[in-house]
């Protein structure tokens, strides 16, 4: 985990030190659909998500930066029996998955007039927590995972200092020990400032 944080901090520091080029800060509303093992635990389309990104343009059509997001998935499962350690438990389960990736982002832009499509990828770490509330019990586990997040999107210039953002992003963190892999597709739309 410390290794990931060091990489992120050093990368950001180098951008700040340059002090040149354009920086765009974007906040996206980020609903998402859980997939794979994430959906096995919490299978739903979640309207609860947000991300915040900082993109520093190294050239006119290439940026690097930092992105963090927060997605929450939940699912209610009634009357299912499951084993936990040496117990067998039956009841209504209220399951939650929280995922918070912290990634370094690289984006390639295909510059147009007012609309600028792009492709990008984020690499870094992700904090994931799964909890299961059943009766008065809460069974939970959390883990820091490696994370990769390719995305495609579009920036639309509203003015000289404001852009609209649209994107589709796939987040994936591989399984680590007993902790399942995290996998989901998010759909972002938001606003940015230059």
């Amino acid at each position: 985990m410390n290794k990931y944080i060091a990489i992120i901090v050093l990368s950001l520091a180098s951008f700040i030190a340059r002090g040149q080029g354009e920086t765009v800060i974007i906040v996206n509303y980020l609903p998402a659909v859980s997939l794979g093992e994430t959906a096995d635990f919490t299978n739903n389309f979640s309207p609860r998500g947000v991300d915040f990104e900082v993109n520093y343009y190294l050239t006119e059509d290439f940026s690097m930066g930092f992105v963090t997001s927060w997605n929450i998935f939940r699912e209610k499962i009634s009357g299912e029996t499951f084993d936990y350690n040496d117990l067998t438990i039956t009841g209504t389960q209220f399951r939650y998955t929280n995922v918070v990736p912290l990634n370094i982002n690289a984006k390639k832009y295909f510059t147009g007039n007012t609309a600028t499509p792009y492709i990008g990828v984020g690499v870094g770490t992700s904090y994931a927590k799964q909890s299961n509330d059943i009766g008065v019990f809460t069974l939970s586990q959390d883990k820091w995972l490696f994370n990769v997040a390719p995305e495609v999107g579009l920036l639309y210039d509203m003015s000289r200092s404001t852009v609209l953002s649209f994107k589709v992003k796939y987040n994936y963190s591989p399984k680590a020990g007993d902790f399942p892999s995290m996998s989901y597709v998010s759909f972002g739309f938001g606003i940015g400032m230059k």
């Binding site: 920086t23 800060i25 906040v27 609860r48 998500g49 947000v50 915040f52 927060w70 929450i72 939940r74 209610k76 009634s78 029996t81 350690n85 040496d86 117990l87 067998t88 438990i89 039956t90 009841g91 209504t92 209220f94 939650y96 059943i134 009766g135 008065v136 019990f137 400032m193």
Partner: protein
């Protein structure tokens, strides 16, 4: 500085928005009910086929932190436990089956208790069992022990006030303490069923919830089914 202002303008309202949207389900009373079972995986349940049901519910309380719980469901609880065991093919033994040496000849003893206080994990240890287990009932010749507010080997998550706990003790493998004043012996609890928190509160559906949850603890314990065994 301008960028920092931008950052705070964006991040603070969004953070509040997401935090305020953090989801919680509105659970009904029934949705908070759970049935929990635990059993001794080394136990051969096919060797056990008769039970004796202690006809009184033991209320486990604590002088400092006890709450009122519903005592009106005793007969219903005992009836449900008895009926579920009979439905699974067990044979009931009663006081009428007392042997010449004063023992009741059943393979297992069923003890039902209810919590008037929360208990947390491993707070009480198995040897405390000796203090409240009704040996005088099981062995009429044995000196009676007072019933103490203690409970053995429950899982690390704790049970809350109002829980009903059903214990099955293998009497074929139980060993009586040699010295009643310093109990030491063996109480093999081979199966436990717990229905959490159901006797607290004032819900009008307690009886039907008890029926459902007590039935569930037996349903999720297929190794207790004697009918399948007899059919083999």
């Amino acid at each position: 500085m301008k960028k920092l202002i931008k950052l705070f303008v964006f991040v603070i309202p969004i953070s509040f928005l997401v935090a305020s949207c953090y989801p919680g389900f509105d659970a009904t009373v029934e949705e908070m009910d759970i049935a929990v079972t635990k059993y001794d995986s080394t136990q051969n349940f096919t060797q056990l086929s008769s039970f004796f049901l202690y006809d009184t519910i033991v209320y486990i309380d604590d002088d400092e932190d006890s709450e009122d719980i519903d005592h009106t469901q005793e007969d219903h609880i005992l009836s449900e436990v008895r009926q579920n065991l009979l439905n699974l093919g067990w044979t009931e033994k009663t006081e009428a089956d007392t042997t010449a040496d004063g023992e009741i000849d059943a393979d297992v003893s069923i003890m039902v208790s209810a919590l008037a206080t929360d208990i947390s994990y491993y707070y009480y240890y198995w040897w405390d069992y000796w203090y409240w287990y009704p040996w005088d009932y099981w062995y009429p010749w044995y000196p009676g022990y007072p019933i103490y507010p203690v409970y053995p080997v429950y899982p690390s998550y704790g049970y809350t006030v109002g829980s009903v706990l059903i214990d099955m003790v293998d009497m074929n493998d139980a060993e009586m303490p040699h010295n009643p004043d310093r109990p030491s012996g063996k109480i093999p609890v081979v199966w436990t069923g717990g229905v959490n928190g159901i006797l607290s509160g004032s819900d009008s559906n307690i009886a039907s919830r008890l029926t459902k949850q007590i039935g569930q603890v037996f349903k999720q314990s297929p190794y207790l089914n004697k009918k399948d065994t007899k059919n083999e």
